[in-house]
């Protein structure tokens, strides 16, 4: 079984993001970037499948500028065998990402595609689902448990009512939840080994994918500041305020 993992380079989750002063987007200059956290779960799961002898080869793919090589090196330091960077200077929307991935899937012929359930920068939560539709493969989203026996894929996903257990078949697209596993640390010797693992860079234009944006960003602004709360002395005052000031009851 060949496993392909999609990895996105995003602003590190610990960074306090800031809107650019011209309101065109979020400041990314000199900001720490990292692997999208749920993608780390996907990487970890792929490496586990390899360690269990279920996967024969693991490939990480990222779409972005030259700098996205660092998240691929991190993926390989965690245990991924090889990686591909699809180079583009543009920010791609989920549909374009899915189409690009599809082209690579046609080339690489993986049996399983793993990715994070969503990226923490745009929170789209669409790529996995669109990809499965384009490929006409089954999808499992927000998986928090995975078991593969032969062709059979058993997954668990957390839903409002509890845990939903589903079964499907390979090939499949699965998107990973943070509960799936605990991503390992890349050890120093493995970081050094990863420097020697193969990393192919291909230009997005060579794939012939239409990546024209379909959404126009007009303005990015910070959410309004929360107003300071007030202390009320008793229930009576609270009810009065809710009724006449907030007008919610």
């Amino acid at each position: 079984m060949k496993v392909l993992v999609a990895v996105k380079r995003v602003v590190d989750y610990k960074v306090q993001i800031r809107v650019k002063s011209d309101n065109s987007g979020v400041e990314t200059q000199n900001v720490k970037m990292s692997v999208n956290p749920p993608d780390e779960n996907a990487i970890e799961e792929a490496v586990k499948l390899k360690e269990q002898g279920l996967a024969s080869e693991t490939i990480a793919v990222s779409i972005g500028d030259e700098k996205s090589q660092d998240v691929l090196r991190t993926s390989m330091a965690m245990g991924i065998d090889k990686s591909i960077l699809v180079k583009t200077q543009n920010t791609l929307e989920p549909l374009a990402v899915a189409k690009t991935l599809m082209k690579l899937i046609e080339k690489e012929n993986p049996d399983l595609v793993l990715m994070g359930k969503q990226a923490i920068d745009d929170d789209s939560n669409q790529t996995g689902q669109i990809l499965s539709a384009l490929l006409k493969w089954p999808q499992g989203c927000f998986i928090s448990n995975l078991k593969i026996e032969g062709n059979k894929v058993s997954i668990s996903r957390e839903i409002d009512e509890g845990i939903e257990n589903l079964e499907t078949r390979l090939p499949a697209v699965l998107t990973c939840d943070l509960r799936l596993n605990t991503p390992r640390f890349a050890s120093l010797p493995n970081i050094m080994k990863a420097k020697k693992k193969p990393l192919d860079i291909i230009d997005i234009d060579s794939l012939g994918v239409d990546t024209t944006p379909r959404i126009k960003t007009l303005k990015v602004i910070e959410p309004p500041k929360r107003k300071a709360g007030v202390m009320v002395s008793d229930v009576k005052e609270l009810v009065k305020k809710l009724k006449y000031e907030a007008k919610v009851i």
Binding site: D12, K14, N30, S34, F185, L188, P189
Partner: protein
């Protein structure tokens, strides 16, 4: 925990800390001999993320290291165009004419930079020369051979829980050995501290080491208040005259200003809160006007070395060198340590190359350092900081005479009398200080400041702020000094709580908040708090600082 098998890596040179000193060592080593294998361990998640500094940069050392830096796309862009030195009272400011200022305080020819960005750039420069940099890996222990020579460092274990038990993702630290180990962790590095003690490196010091705490905020201000390339310093209000300290304000690119405050940690009153002094400073009419309509985008704090030449330890030891602010090469009257740290790194590289190729002893560092311009600078600067034990006004007059008339060449050397942890007076004898409430516009509480530092530590990990004697704080610092840690810590790590069970006040340590400034390790009166490295990659994520 069962015996851990640790992997081992070997290099010619192992450098701890990717700051200006360590990076300069690495770059110079590769320039001298490309064959040398050099690695740098850096505890922050990426190079520069734990670097916080003013910074008005003197390029002297960089000119030596990378003579063509001006042709490269470095982050050194804003030259100093004007400068002010002000004396503040609570509502007025008095400008001290530039001709009266010592040369050390004149910044023509220097640049306003973000040291964090410069280190990032130097890091890439070093990597292009073949230096291996490992961010996210803290050097947690020194390793020695049988003859007690330093032979490398051990990286910290990753994935331990609060009780030191391995978690699912446990990854044991490894031993990284080097022919020479370079300690360049910055002020009060914890391996540097161990080495100082083990090899008694400060035995010939005339004075105990002195420290300060520096705060920095980056503000984006309205263009009409911004004056690119302007440098201002102030002394006076809100600090009382017996406290060593002052402000800085540098107008950098993109309508940003770097606003900060430095306070000597030799202050006496346990009720003094350096953080609140800085916050209060921003309410001065001058500063208020400057910040009007602006927005704070970054916050951080870091201890700095102030002892100068009298407190500078021996910088070599068997198998290792102690350089930059890990030793204490900052020039206090200039308020600059980057160029001296870089030079100390350049010298280190020359000594190490001679050591490896010609077996020359590492002790040759001392003479090389003594004959360098850094030593000359520090010698001229040596009397400024200790003169402040007489109070602000006499010190300023003395400094004027010492620096202006004699160029730092007076035939005597003033000494620092006390280590910073010895200076606090008991709380019962001290005057309580009440600071104004935070307004959320100019002044902010600690939690919202710490939030801007981006600091983060995996919560289920061993606490990295150790109490040597676990009960001492409740019986000693709380009762005797009303726990000064809750005030000197710039990140709200220390809180005092009342424990109902034992009916006593106890110290609570919120180590996740720590921004790695090391002030507690320095100022704690009983020297009971020991700062050790948390899991690699933890701590603040500074950018542009």
């Amino acid at each position: 925990m069962s015996e851990i098998v640790r992997e081992e890596l070997s290099y010619d040179v192992v450098i701890v800390g990717a700051g200006p000193a360590g990076l300069s060592t690495a770059i110079k080593l590769k320039q001298l001999n490309t064959e040398l294998s050099v690695c740098i361990l850096e505890k922050s998640s990426e190079v520069g993320a734990h670097i916080l500094s003013g910074n008005v940069f003197e390029t002297k050392a960089l000119d030596e290291l990378i003579p063509n830096w001006k042709d490269l796309d470095s982050p050194i862009k804003t030259d100093v165009r004007s400068e002010d030195f002000l004396f503040y009272t609570n509502n007025k400011s008095l400008k001290i004419p530039n001709f009266l200022l010592p040369k050390a305080l004149q910044n023509h020819g220097n640049y306003i930079i973000s040291l964090s960005n410069l280190c990032k750039w130097l890091g890439e420069f070093a990597e292009n020369l073949g230096v291996e940099i490992f961010p996210g890996f803290a050097a947690s222990k020194l390793i020695y051979d049988e003859s007690n020579q330093v032979i490398g460092v051990q990286t910290g274990d990753m994935g331990l829980d609060k009780e030191n038990n391995p978690k699912d993702n446990f990854e044991p630290g490894i031993n990284i050995k080097g022919k020479v180990t370079v300690l360049s962790e910055g002020c009060r590095g914890h391996l540097g501290k161990e080495a100082l003690k083990k090899f008694n490196l400060d035995k010939n010091n005339k004075s105990p080491q002195q420290y300060g705490i520096g705060f920095k905020e980056i503000w984006e201000i309205s263009p009409e208040n911004h004056s690119l390339g302007k440098v201002s310093h102030s002394v006076g209000w809100p600090l009382s005259n017996d406290i060593y300290g002052g402000s800085f304000c540098y107008h950098a690119e993109n309508n940003q200003i770097y606003l900060g405050y430095v306070i000597g940690l030799d202050y006496k009153n346990p009720y003094l809160s350096p953080y609140d002094e800085f916050q209060q400073f921003k309410t001065h009419p001058d500063v208020k006007k400057l910040l009007q309509g602006g927005k704070r985008i970054s916050y951080g704090a870091r201890a700095l070395i102030e002892g100068g030449l009298q407190s500078l330890p021996q910088m070599h030891m068997p198998g290792a060198l102690l350089i930059g602010c890990d030793a204490g090469t900052l020039n206090m009257p200039k308020i600059k340590g980057s160029h001296t740290a870089m030079k100390s790194g350049i010298i280190a590289a020359e000594v190490i190359e001679n050591h490896i190729s010609k077996n020359e002893d590492l002790s040759s560092y001392e003479d090389k350092f003594k004959n360098s311009w850094v030593h000359k600078e520090l010698h001229q600067a040596r009397n400024v900081k200790p003169s402040f034990q007489w109070g602000l006004i006499p010190a300023m007059i003395f400094t004027g005479i010492d620096q202006k008339l004699f160029g730092g060449k007076l035939p005597f050397t003033l000494q620092h009398k006390h280590a910073d942890h010895e200076t606090l007076i008991p709380a019962k004898d001290a005057k309580k200080i009440s600071y104004p409430k935070y307004d959320g516009v100019l002044t902010f509480d600690k939690p919202s400041s710490v939030y801007l530092s981006g600091t983060n530590h995996a919560d289920d990990q061993p606490c990295h702020l150790l109490l040597n004697d676990k009960d001492l704080s409740t019986t000693y610092t709380i009762e005797e000094y009303d726990e000064p840690a809750q005030r000197y810590c710039p990140a709200g790590v220390y809180e005092v709580e009342f424990d109902e069970e034992i009916q006593k006040k106890v110290l609570k340590i919120n180590s996740q908040n720590c921004i790695h400034c090391k002030t507690c390790d320095i100022k704690e009166p009983s020297q009971n708090i020991e700062w050790v490295t948390p899991e690699g990659g933890g701590g603040p994520i500074y950018s542009g600082t």
